[in-house]
C-alpha cells in the first residue's frame, strides 16, 4: 500500500494533543506503521543506528524526587515529572548524577548550559563582547556522527528543528553546531520542514517543480563563486567557501531525489503557525517520518529555546521561565512533566513503527536533557537525562542508572552514544576520556 500523506492531512493530523491516535496514513490496518519496502534501508541486513537530541528548557524542579526515580536499576518507577514515560519504561534509560561540567566552567545562567548542551565544551563568550557572543567551542555530538556517517548515506545528513517562535537571540537558539562557532540554524516552521522533506525541489514554498535546469543553474552559481573568490580577500573567500558548501549539498540532494521512496506531492497553500504544543507534535511526526523513510539518521529538536517563556498549559499563572524561578512549585513540576510528555510522544511514534524484527525505537537513541539541572538556581550538576531507545540492542534500557555523584560528565554519555551510533571517538568535549560504561547491554 503506497504512503499517502498530504500536507493538509498532515496539518490536520498534527493539530491534536498528545494521546490522540497518530496519523492514519502512516499506519496499516492493524494500527501499526508501515515498514518501508524496497529501499536500500530494507535491503540492509542490520538497520542503522539513528542518533538524536531533544532539548527541553529551564531544567527540572529543585527537589530531586520530583524528577529522580526513587528506585534504581530495573525496579525504577516514574517520578512525577517522568510519569508519561510509563508506557516506554522498558525502552528508556534514566541517568542520575551526570554533570554538565562544561556548562559549570563558565559563569552565567542558562546560556553556558545551552551552548554546552550537546557540545560538551565551555562556551566562548568573548567573541562579540556582549549580545550574541555565545559561541560553542566544538561540534555537537550528533553532528559528529552526521558528518561521518550521514552525509554519505541519506538525503539530509541531519535535520535540526526548534519550536521557538520569535526573534532569535544569538546564543540560545540552537543546540546543534557543525563545529566551533558554526551554529546550525534549526528549522522553526513545521511547514518549512515539511516542504524540505516532501517537495520535489528539496525546499521552498511549494511551487511546481521545474527541475531540469537545476543542476545547470547550480553549476553556474558554483562557477560564479569561484570567479568572485579570485577578486576577494581571504576572509571574504572563506565566507563564499561556506556558500559553495551549501550549493554542493543542494546538488547532492537533487542527485538523490529520484531514489527517494517516500516522496510526496509538494504542499499546497501555507497555514498559520501552529501553537507551541502542536508544533512540537508536528516536528515529532516529521522527524519520525524522516527517520522511517531514511531521509536522515541524525538530528536535534529544541522544544523551545533556553529561558523559554512559553505558556503551553491552560491556567499557567506565569510563563515557564518565571515559574522555574518563582513558582508555584507544583506548576514547575507540571510544566516539566509536560515537556517530558512531548518527548514521550516522539519516542512512542518510533516505538510504534516496526523495523526488522523490532521497532524503529530499538534502532534509535534520543538524548533528552535540558540546559540546566535545577532551573531555579541555574545549577548544571546532575542534569536531568533520559535516553530513549536501544541503539540496535546495544543499550540495556529499562533502567534507572544512578551513578556516583561528581564523577561523570555528559561527555562520557556523548562518547557512549557516538560509539553505539558507529562513530566512536577517542575523546570528546572538555573532559570526555571514555564512554560511560554502565549503559551497554
Amino acid at each position: 500500500m503506497p504512503l499517502r500523506l498530504s500536507r493538509r492531512t498532515f496539518l490536520r493530523g498534527g493539530a491534536v494533543a498528545v494521546g490522540l491516535p497518530p496519523l492514519e496514513a502512516m499506519m496499516d490496518g492493524r494500527g501499526r506503521y508501515h515498514a518501508i519496502g524496497g529501499s536500500a534501508l530494507a535491503a540492509a541486513a542490520k538497520p542503522p543506528v539513528r542518533l538524536f537530541t531533544w532539548f527541553f528548557p529551564n531544567g527540572r524542579p529543585g527537589k530531586t524526587d520530583a524528577w529522580v526515580p526513587a528506585a534504581d536499576g530495573t525496579a525504577w518507577t516514574p517520578s512525577p515529572c517522568l510519569m508519561s514515560l510509563a508506557p516506554l519504561k522498558a525502552d528508556v534509560t534514566v541517568l542520575t548524577n551526570v554533570d554538565n561540567t562544561a556548562g559549570m566552567q563558565v559563569p552565567g545562567a542558562h546560556e553556558p548550559g545551552d551552548g554546552s548542551f550537546a557540545t560538551g565544551m565551555p562556551v566562548d563568550h568573548s567573541a562579540n563582547g556582549s549580545w550574541g557572543g555565545y559561541q560553542a567551542r566544538g561540534p555537537s555530538f550528533e553532528q559528529v556522527a552526521a558528518q561521518r556517517l550521514g552525509a554519505a548515506a541519506t538525503r539530509f545528513p541531519s535535520l535540526c528543528a526548534s519550536s521557538y517562535v520569535g526573534t532569535l537571540p544569538g546564543y540560545t537558539s540552537t543546540i546543534s553546531w557543525a563545529d566551533a562557532g558554526k551554529p546550525i540554524a534549526p528549522e522553526r516552521d513545521p511547514k518549512a520542514l515539511y516542504d524540505r522533506l516532501f517537495s520535489a525541489t528539496g525546499g521552498g514554498t511549494g511551487a511546481a517543480p521545474a527541475p531540469s535546469y537545476d543542476r545547470s543553474v547550480l553549476d553556474y552559481v558554483g562557477a560564479r563563486i569561484t570567479r568572485l573568490q579570485g577578486r576577494l580577500g581571504a576572509q571574504d573567500r572563506q565566507r563564499l567557501d561556506a556558500h559553495l558548501t551549501g550549493v554542493r549539498e543542494l546538488e547532492r540532494q537533487i542527485a538523490l531525489r529520484p531514489a527517494l521512496d517516500c516522496r510526496q506531492q509538494p504542499p499546497a497553500a501555507s497555514d498559520p503557525m501552529p501553537d507551541f504544543t502542536t508544533k512540537a507534535h508536528l516536528f515529532a511526526q516529521l522527524l519520525a517520518y524522516a527517520i522511517r523513510c531514511d531521509l536522515t539518521r541524525f538530528g536535534s529538536f529544541m522544544h523551545g529555546s533556553a529561558i523559554s517563556t512559553a505558556k503551553p498549559l491552560p491556567g499557567m499563572p506565569n510563563h515557564h521561565h518565571g515559574i522555574s524561578h518563582d513558582g508555584p512549585y507544583d506548576w514547575y513540576v507540571k510544566i516539566t512533566a509536560y515537556h517530558v510528555e512531548c518527548f514521550a510522544y516522539f519516542a512512542s511514534l518510533l516505538q510504534a513503527t516496526p523495523e526488522g524484527a523490532g521497532t524503529l525505537l530499538d534502532n534509535t537513541l534520543v538524548y533528552f536533557s535540558s540546559e540546566l539541572a535545577d532551573g531555579a538556581r541555574h545549577s548544571k550538576d546532575n542534569v536531568p537525562i533520559v535516553i530513549a531507545g536501544r541503539g540496535g540492542g546495544q543499550v540495556a534500557s529499562g533502567r534507572h542508572l544512578r551513578l556516583p555523584a561528581g564523577r561523570w560528565s555528559t561527555n562520557a554519555v556523548f562518547m557512549a552514544l557516538l560509539s553505539y551510533a558507529g562513530a566512536p571517538v577517542s575523546s570528546f568535549g572538555v573532559d570526555g576520556k571514555e564512554p560511560l560504561p554502565g549503559l551497554s547491554a
Binding site: 545562567a109 526573534t167 553556474y220 565566507r239 551549501g246 501555507s270 524561578h325
Partner: protein, 580 residues
C-alpha cells in the same frame, strides 16, 4: 488568593537571564568601562565614548553628566569592518520588489533563511553563515522567476521584449545585459553576459517559450553577485593596506545603508559616470537619497529594531490572563510605533530628545481606551496625552513590550529596556542565582522587588534596573494607567538612574526628561545606528567614527538623518581594508 500574591518576584533570574550576554562573569556592578579605554583593557565590552560611561553608585564616573567631549585632534577614523555582507531578508524582499516588481506575498514568512538578531538588529554581517539557506534561495528564486514570466504584463515589465519572437536572440541579449546589470549592481564583462546566455540556451527547446528568460532570472537570483554585496575595491596608492571602493560598490553601499535596497538605475549611472568619486558629488547624491521615501522606510526600520516596535510582532499574551489583550491591539501598537517614529526618520524632523518627552501620540480605536482618550471618528488621529504620559517609555507599545505576563516584575524589564536600548549598557548574564527571602504577605510590589537589595548577588544588577522601571509602575502590562498595584497598594514612582550625575526622579515624565538630557543618550543613539548600518557591534577602532557621528548628531539637534549623512560621507564608509 490572587495569582499575583502567589507569584513572587524573587530570584529574578527571569529578567536578568533574558538579558544580553555580556562580556563575562557575574554582575559586579561595574557594567562598563570609563571612556578612553581602548583595545587591551580587561573588558571585552565594546569601546564606549565618554558620554556613555557608567559605573555603580559607589563609583560614579566623573563625567557621566558632563557634555560630550570634543574629538581629540589625533583621532583618525578607520574604515568600517568590511564583511562580505549577504542581503538580509528584508533587503532581499525590497530588492526583488525593485528588481522584478515582485509582489511581497510571493515570499512566504519562512521562505528565506533564518536570521539571528544580535544587538537588537537583524543585520549581523559578522556572524552570517554562508552555508545555510542555499536551498531556500533556490526555491524562492524559482517562485520569483516563474512569476516574472507568467503573464504578458509581467513579461513586458521584466523582460521588455519577446524572448520567444523572431528577434529572440537580440531580445535575450538585451534582457540579460540590462537585468544582470541591475541585479549585480555593476556592468558585466562580455564573457559574463555570454555565460548567462549559454545557460539560457539550455532551455531553447523547452515547451515553455519563456523558459529561457526564467532560467536566467533563477540563476541570477542565486548568484553570489546578487546575494552578496561584493566590495573588492582598488588599492589606495597613498595608503598601503587601504582600498577605495569602486563607484558602483560605493553606490551599492549607499543604497543598502540609506534605502535598504538596491541602487536604482539613476544611482548606478551616477556611479558609473564617476560622480561619487569626489566629496561634492557624494554629498549631493547622499542628500538626495536621504530625501527619498526609501530612506524614510529604512529609518523607520532602524527605529523599529532599535526601540523594539518590530518585536511587537512576536508579542504573545493570553486574553484569559491579560484582559483587554487582542491581536488587533497588538497590530495597533505596532502601527502606532511606525507612525510615531516617522517624524524622527525625516530629515529636518524633530530631534530625538522629543521622543522621550513628547505627549503627542497616535491612537486608533484600539489604543484610545488604553490611554483613556476618545476614540477617533475613524482611522488614526494624533492626540495630546496628559503630562505624565510624556515620552516613548509611557507608550502602550513600549510598556507592553517590556511587561512580562506578571506585571509586578515589569520594572526589571523596563529598567533593562532603558539600560540596553537607550543607554547602550549591556549587562552581563546573572551568576548562579542565590535564593532571596520569601515574600511576606501584604508586601507591595515595590517592597518585593526591594528584596533584591538584601542579596548582594542580586543587588549588583537589580540596583541598576529596578529603580528605573519602578518609575513606570503606574502603567500596567498593556500600558493602561493603574492607581494601585496588584495587591491594592498605592504606587510610589520615585526612582533612580544610577550613573547619572543627578540620578533621582519622580515618575515617568521626569524619567523621560532626565534621559533626554543625559549625554549618554545621543552617544547611544549614534552607537545603535552604527550597529544597524555597519552590520556589526562597534570595535575599538571605530571609536573615532562614533565620536564624530555623535558630534554631528548633537550639533544638528539630534536628528537621525544627520548621522546617516555624516556616516556615508566619512572616509570610514568609502574605504575598506583587507581584500586581494
Amino acid at each position: 488568593m490572587s495569582v499575583l500574591s502567589r507569584t513572587t518576584v524573587s530570584s529574578l533570574g527571569l529578567a536578568l537571564a533574558a538579558l544580553a550576554a555580556s562580556a563575562s562573569g557575574a554582575c559586579t556592578g561595574r557594567i562598563d568601562q570609563p571612556g578612553g579605554d581602548g583595545p587591551g583593557t580587561a573588558t571585552a565590552a565594546p569601546a564606549r565614548d565618554p558620554g556613555s560611561t557608567f559605573t555603580t553608585a559607589t563609583a560614579p564616573p566623573p563625567n557621566a553628566s558632563s557634555p560630550p567631549t570634543s574629538v581629540p585632534p589625533a583621532c583618525a577614523p578607520q574604515p568600517l569592518r568590511a564583511f562580505l555582507r549577504r542581503l538580509t531578508n528584508r533587503e532581499y524582499a525590497r530588492t526583488v520588489r525593485d528588481l522584478l516588481d515582485a509582489a511581497p506575498a510571493l515570499i512566504g514568512p519562512t521562505a528565506l533563511p533564518d536570521e539571528q538578531t544580535i544587538a537588537l538588529f537583524d543585520d549581523n554581517a559578522e556572524f552570517q553563515d554562508g552555508a545555510t539557506g542555499v536551498d531556500r534561495y533556490s526555491a524562492v528564486a524559482r517562485v520569483l522567476a516563474q512569476d516574472a514570466v507568467a503573464t504578458p504584463a509581467r513579461r513586458q515589465r521584466v523582460i521588455g521584449c519577446d524572448p520567444a519572437g523572431a528577434d529572440r536572440a537580440a531580445c535575450m541579449r538585451s534582457f540579460v545585459t540590462a537585468f544582470a546589470h541591475r541585479a549585480y549592481r555593476r556592468t558585466l564583462a562580455a564573457d559574463e553576459v555570454d555565460e548567462l546566455l549559454a545557460l539560457a540556451r539550455l532551455a531553447d527547446g523547452d515547451t515553455n517559450r519563456y523558459a529561457t528568460a526564467r532560467v536566467v532570472i533563477e540563476a541570477v537570483l542565486q548568484s553570489p553577485d546578487f546575494l552578496y554585496r561584493v566590495e573588492a575595491g582598488t588599492p589606495d596608492p597613498a595608503t598601503p593596506g587601504l582600498r577605495r571602493l569602486g563607484g558602483t560598490e560605493l553606490a551599492t553601499r549607499l543604497a543598502y545603508t540609506l534605502w535598504g535596497t538596491m541602487p536604482d538605475d539613476a544611482l548606478l549611472a551616477t556611479a558609473e559616470a564617476g560622480k561619487l568619486d569626489g566629496a561634492a558629488g557624494l554629498a549631493q547624491t547622499a542628500a538626495a537619497m536621504i530625501a527619498d521615501p526609501r530612506h524614510a522606510d529604512r529609518a523607520r526600520e532602524f527605529l523599529g529594531q532599535w526601540l523594539g516596535f518590530d518585536r511587537l510582532g512576536d508579542l504573545q499574551r493570553d486574553a484569559a490572563t491579560t484582559p483587554g489583550w487582542s491581536e488587533a491591539l497588538r497590530r495597533s501598537m505596532q502601527e502606532a510605533g511606525a507612525r510615531e517614529a516617522a517624524p524622527f526618520a525625516a530629515p529636518g524632523g524633530p530631534g530625538f530628545t522629543d521622543a522621550l518627552t513628547s505627549t503627542r501620540a497616535q491612537v486608533d480605536a484600539n489604543l484610545a481606551p488604553i490611554y483613556g482618550v476618545p476614540r477617533p471618528a475613524q482611522g488614526w488621529a494624533e492626540v495630546t496625552l496628559p503630562p505624565e504620559r510624556a515620552g516613548l517609555l509611557t507608550r502602550a507599545n513600549v510598556l507592553a513590550l517590556t511587561a512580562p505576563s506578571i506585571v509586578a516584575t515589569a520594572p526589571v524589564y523596563r529598567g533593562k529596556y532603558v539600560r540596553e536600548r537607550l543607554l547602550c549598557q549591556d549587562l552581563p548574564p546573572p551568576p548562579v542565582v542565590p535564593r532571596v527571602p520569601d515574600p511576606i504577605a501584604g508586601q507591595s510590589e515595590r517592597q518585593r522587588l526591594e528584596r533584591h537589595e538584601s542579596e548582594p548577588g542580586c543587588a549588583a544588577c537589580h540596583a541598576l534596573l529596578d529603580p528605573i522601571g519602578l518609575g513606570l509602575a503606574r502603567f500596567d502590562e498593556l500600558g493602561r494607567a493603574r492607581a494601585a498595584d496588584g495587591g491594592g497598594h498605592p504606587i510610589d514612582v520615585r526612582g533612580r538612574v544610577t550613573g547619572l550625575a543627578a540620578p533621582d526622579f519622580d515618575g515617568a515624565a521626569e524619567l523621560g526628561a532626565k534621559l533626554a538630557a543625559a549625554p549618554a543618550l545621543p552617544a547611544c543613539a549614534v552607537t545603535q545606528y552604527f550597529r544597524f548600518a555597519a552590520g556589526y557591534q562597534e570595535k575599538p577602532e571605530d571609536q573615532c567614527t562614533l565620536d564624530r557621528l555623535r558630534d554631528a548628531f548633537v550639533r544638528g539637534g539630534q536628528r537621525l538623518a544627520d548621522v546617516a549623512l555624516a556616516l556615508v560621507q566619512s572616509d570610514a564608509f568609502r574605504t575598506r581594508t583587507g581584500g586581494q
